[in-house]
């Protein structure tokens, strides 16, 4: 048998039409861009963040400065949103309120995730007793009027015990302690389903430890739904802060919280509606924007959920 002559390998540049590399985020972003209402939400949120950042270094007037003009002055050229009952510039206070809103919203989303993700991962991954205990707490927590517990927590932690000064931080803590279940329940479900998947099994066969499996395999695959849930936590926390401050149980007085501003303006509503309108509209727009973004993200991360 004659040895087959080695076939000359033609020098060919192998080019494939590779589809563009799509990571979870870039893929979601591509779908999100096509969703017009989610884009509007994103734009409003971008404006909110920029306003909040600007307000750190500059506002037209200091947010606490009283009597920059006549009290209850309606909108004018010098004060585009008018002045409130103490003669403070409302535009400046709305800008300062944007910063507080961002702090409360983002801070709460982070803490809620920090509590909910580990609990959910553990419950879904280990099942059995761990799951029973964690699920028991989730169910108990769902049975309580969360806003009211949070309200009492803020009151006790800062007014009565003086553990944490009344401010943004205590509101974030109180909110997170009463609303961690949404994330926990979602992550539990994800982790329960993912732990049975082949790639997790393969990693386990390869000798991966539980911690590695949880952090490198299960968590990244649950990331989409987690981002969606965390996005929905933001408007809930913002609303909670406004709700507390409106009742006079939230941020203390000179702080330009939108809820507190609404409460201020509410008393002079008959003759100076501009005081109450500015913060309530800003608040509603913010909540709307985050809800729209959340809806858009949900559709983007999970194409099957398309309505």
């Amino acid at each position: 048998m004659a040895q087959a002559a080695p076939v000359a390998q033609p020098e060919v540049e192998l080019t494939y039409d590779m589809p563009e590399q799509a990571t979870l985020l870039s893929d979601a972003w591509r779908r999100l861009r096509r969703n017009r209402i989610a884009l509007v939400g994103t734009v409003i949120i971008a404006i909110l963040f920029i306003t909040a950042l600007i307000s750190i270094v500059w506002t037209p007037y200091p947010v606490w400065l009283q009597a920059v003009g006549p009290t209850y002055q309606p909108p004018s050229g010098a004060h585009p949103l008018g002045l409130d009952q103490a003669g403070r510039d409302i535009l400046s206070r709305i800008m300062g309120g944007a910063l507080i809103t961002v702090e409360v919203g983002i801070g709460s989303a982070i803490i809620v995730s920090l509590i909910g993700i580990p609990l959910g991962l553990l419950a879904g991954f280990y099942r059995g007793k761990v799951d029973t205990v964690i699920s028991f707490f989730i169910n108990i927590w769902y049975g309580i009027p969360d806003l009211l517990v949070a309200l009492i927590l803020v009151f006790v932690l800062s007014d009565a015990l003086h553990l944490i000064p009344r401010g943004v931080f205590v509101i974030i803590i109180a909110f997170s302690l009463t609303r961690w279940m949404d994330v926990a329940r979602l992550v539990r479900g994800q982790s329960l389903a993912l732990r049975e998947r082949e790639f997790v099994e393969a990693a386990r066969m390869a000798g991966a430890r539980d911690f590695y499996l949880l952090v490198r395999h299960i968590f990244p695959n649950a990331l989409g739904p987690i981002i969606v849930q965390a996005t929905f936590a933001i408007p809930a926390a913002v609303l909670f802060e406004a709700f507390l401050s409106f009742l006079g149980l939230g941020l203390p007085s000179p702080t330009p919280s939108w809820g507190a501003m609404a409460a201020d303006g509410y008393h002079g509503m008959d003759f100076a509606p501009h005081i109450v309108l500015a913060p309530t509209i800003a608040l509603s727009l913010t909540l709307m924007a985050f809800n729209w973004l959340g809806d858009g993200l949900r559709d983007a991360f999970d194409p099957r959920m398309r309505r």
Partner: protein
């Protein structure tokens, strides 16, 4: 039937346990507060103060106070107001619950009624201007918090309507007359109505495309029968699942609504008592709320199998 009763019994016990457990947290939290409840009444002599503390059992060790309190709760006795001496809390709260329940009931009516009507119409007229208007209203409505709607309601019906009609027709905040119910009920119900409308529209759209609904049309049934008896009944299932959180939302939402509209219900009492540091009432209102939320969720779970016979207890 026996299974259902057994299930309800189990749930009632669980609700009682949850209520006591949750209000225990509030009880213990509030009893961590340093000083005593009568610090503000500084005209008292030490003897009078001691007598007062003794009267409320506040001179006992915390464990004993807690045991007494739990026993009281289980017997329906929530103790006495710390500010208005001699006022029993349980009857007071029962009276206020009836007020809150009235507002809550009408708010729920707005939520479910308006939400269902808008959702069904939007689904049946999909992609027409009716659908677009209803859907946009729902998308905006569910993000506007109820206290903002309340403020706008007060501004429009309380102030502008007064100006336009020259003071003949307008909304007067307060409680006691039937014409004072609609505005607060709308404010409380509208955000959730938008949510129900969105949900109904989505599930109705899914249902009217199913085979059995097509069969119903093909049989030549009247539109009314197809829509209400065949399609809507199945489309309602996802709506019923969110009724539980919805009722909780209406109950917590009533706290701020009652304060805005000056309605003497549980929510107003809650805030007033916190500000007045009347801890006994705060704990009491909280216990009521926890129980109400539990009962509301139970009611929803009992109604559920009526709509979806696949679910049995």
């Amino acid at each position: 039937m026996r299974g259902t009763l057994l299930y309800i019994g189990q749930r009632l016990i669980l609700i009682a346990i949850t209520t006591v457990l949750v209000s225990s947290i509030v009880f213990l939290l509030l009893h961590q507060i340093p000083g005593n409840a009568f610090l503000n009444e500084n005209r008292q002599t030490p003897q009078a103060l001691a007598a007062e503390l003794h009267h409320y059992g506040l001179d006992l060790p915390l464990q004993q106070q807690y045991v007494n309190w739990v026993q009281g709760v289980l017997h329906g006795d929530l103790g006495e107001s710390l500010v208005n001496h001699g006022v029993k809390i349980s009857p007071l709260l029962i009276r206020e619950t009836s007020v809150s329940a009235t507002v809550g009931f009408f708010a729920l009516l707005v939520t479910v009624g308006l939400g269902l009507i808008l959702g069904v119409i939007a689904a049946l007229r999909q992609n027409t201007w009716v659908d677009y208007i209803a859907s946009s209203a729902a998308v905006i409505g569910y993000s506007v918090p109820s206290f903002v709607i309340a403020i706008f309601g007060l501004l429009i019906f309380g102030h502008y309507l007064y100006v336009w009609t020259g003071g003949t027709l307008f909304y007067q905040p307060g409680w006691g007359k039937p014409e004072q119910i609609p505005v607060p009920a709308l404010a409380l119900g509208l955000p959730y109505a938008s949510y129900v409308a969105r949900l109904t529209r989505a599930s109705m759209l899914e249902t009217i495309r199913t085979d059995y609904v097509r069969t119903a049309w093909a049989k030549g049934l009247k539109a009314r029968v197809v829509v209400f008896r065949h399609a809507l009944r199945n489309a309602l299932i996802p709506v019923v699942t969110i009724l539980g959180p919805l009722v909780t939302g209406i109950i917590t939402g009533s706290v701020v609504i009652e304060n805005i509209f000056g309605i003497p219900g549980l929510g107003k009492e809650f805030v007033t008592s916190i500000l007045a540091r009347d801890y006994n009432i705060v704990i009491g209102v909280f216990t009521f709320y926890a129980g109400l939320v539990g009962l509301a969720n139970l009611t929803v779970d009992v109604v559920y199998p009526v709509l979806d016979p696949r679910i049995r207890y």
